[in-house]
Symmetry: C2
Subunit: 332 residues, 2 copies
């Protein structure tokens, strides 16, 4: 069996209450006693059982993260940010990677059973019912890259503003016929980016023809089909704005296969500024998102809600994006 607090107490010749006190360092303890206890702890190799502790304190010191089951650098930077914030305050990270679209409830079960002190949900489209259930169980929820009403805290990047900035830049190149490759329509980021594109075009008296919107899902390969569809259009678009870099890279491949050149024949731009963007040829003009920051701040906020036991201020944070001009837009 493993070493318990009773073993330590016995060895140190004190009660378990005293052991608990020196372990948690909260109440005052005679320095001599404390030393004896510490010696017992060390010699026995004792470690507090986190489960027992959590059961009585009602704090597991674990934070739950729900994230779509995609493998891209964009999401992983968020995870890194979350992980850093979480471990900085000595908490652990429990991850549930949820397949988009499957809507099964099972995945959330660990979170409904008192396992985590707070939950961070990334672009995951939780149902209202699920959110309500979590709320009933009194576990704070923070949304990342999505929003859902006023009452649930959220951290997003300025998808709209970034899209506007990018579109303005493309317009300055003189492009007129825009095409858009959309992301998964389950998440709101793609819609926001599209809205930015539309509004900026409208500002110059242009409109986006619906036929020039090709559906994608953010994932590898989906930009491929979308671009093929766009290349069947007549006239061809001047410039393609893909909802993320991955799809933009796919589009580039297709355009090259068709014997056309980027940016001379068709310009391209993406969104996210993942590492891939700077490695392809021509390097991709895109919008940088502070993903690590996003995850870090969201996690800090979640932890704060737990600590303060009240909502955070401000409830809704929008992090600025930054236009990254490379060659695929026609610059240089």
């Amino acid at each position: 069996m493993s070493v318990t607090i009773f073993d330590v107490a016995e060895r140190a010749g004190v009660s378990i209450s005293t052991v608990s006190r020196v372990l948690n360092g909260r109440d005052r303890v005679n320095p001599d006693t404390a030393r004896r206890v510490q010696a017992a702890v060390d010699s026995l190799g004792f470690r507090q059982n986190a489960l027992a502790r959590a059961l009585v304190t009602r704090r597991s010191e674990m934070v739950g993260l729900i994230i779509p089951k995609v493998n891209d650098p964009f999401h992983f930077e968020i995870v890194r940010g979350v992980e850093d914030a979480v471990s900085l305050s000595n908490h652990s990270l429990l991850i549930v990677s949820q397949t988009r679209n499957d809507g099964e409830e099972r995945n959330l079960v660990p979170f409904q059973r008192g396992l985590v002190d707070a939950i961070i949900a990334v672009a995951v489209d939780l149902s209202r019912a699920e959110m309500a259930d979590l709320e009933k169980r009194n576990v704070p929820l923070v949304l990342v890259q999505q929003t859902e009403g006023e009452d649930i805290p959220s951290f997003v990047t300025d998808n709209y503003g970034g899209a506007c900035q990018l579109t303005e830049h493309l317009l300055d190149h003189g492009y007129q016929r825009f095409a858009y490759i959309s992301g998964s329509n389950l998440t709101c980021d793609s819609a926001e980016r599209l809205r930015g594109l539309r509004d900026s075009l409208a500002g110059r008296g242009l409109a986006l023809d619906d036929r020039y919107i090709a559906p994608g899902d953010y994932l590898r390969g989906s930009g491929y089909e979308a671009m093929q569809r766009l290349l069947a259009l007549d006239p061809l678009p001047d410039v393609v704005f893909a909802a993320n870099d991955q799809m933009a890279s796919d589009a580039l491949l297709v355009i090259n296969e068709y014997g056309l050149r980027v940016p001379e024949d068709i310009a391209i731009a993406g969104f996210d500024d993942v590492p891939l963007a700077s490695y392809i040829t021509p390097a991709l003009t895109t919008v940088h998102q502070p993903t690590y920051e996003l995850g870090f701040q969201a996690a800090q906020a979640a932890l704060n809600i737990v600590k303060e036991e009240k909502p955070i201020e401000p409830m809704h944070v929008v992090l600025p994006t930054r236009l990254v001009v490379r060659r695929s837009c026609g610059c240089h």
Copy 2:
């Protein structure tokens, strides 16, 4: 307060023992009673408290994952594999992302406190002492992409074989002067790959000059410096074998900056076959690793050890790699 098993028992007019029985579905329970209990559970919205349950069963149904703090697709595919295996058996995943090199013990604490039933350590170079401690606490450990003696189960890809295959291919192109950009020397994969390179060269009566080994650390940007160092050499290498695709991509950028062409002036090959490899120009010849499989199998093994309470068979698994020929080696 939250709904407990007592509330359910009261509502259903039975004892908590009975409620527990229907919840866990193990012992025989009168169908009528079971229905009453289930109705109470549903109407109260009751969920078992996972902490309390874990405390008595001595199973938390959580699996711990230790992974270096890098953000690359290679590692994340492993995570995805682990996550799938873990959630397939209704367990949760607790992640600790460990900075290489910092050697602080703190990160392992959650794992030493009874929080997880098993641990999977990815290329992380746990110290012997840490492994021993974990063993003392009776939590099974499975190593991924590393080995440490006979007694600890491990899952690795065939780094040596893959490197041999790749080298043979490059030799068939007629290259003679090889250079190697190494990975972090904390992990054994890079050493294995280097060994494969060396042995294959030796098979053709060639040797690798130490000056042609440039140190890298697998991370973004480190191939950059390494390649600069190699380009200062006289004579220049015919071909550069980078220990992973990321560094190979960096090397490509540097070679282009120097006004040289790949593969005409210097050929390049990588390792891993991450998505990036197929997007750069020229597309990268590399060695595919079954990373998802690796994580999946490792997690299954860990879960099996927990379930069977005995070591698995076989203890050491080597998954085959596959040569992926693209253009950077000179093919086409």
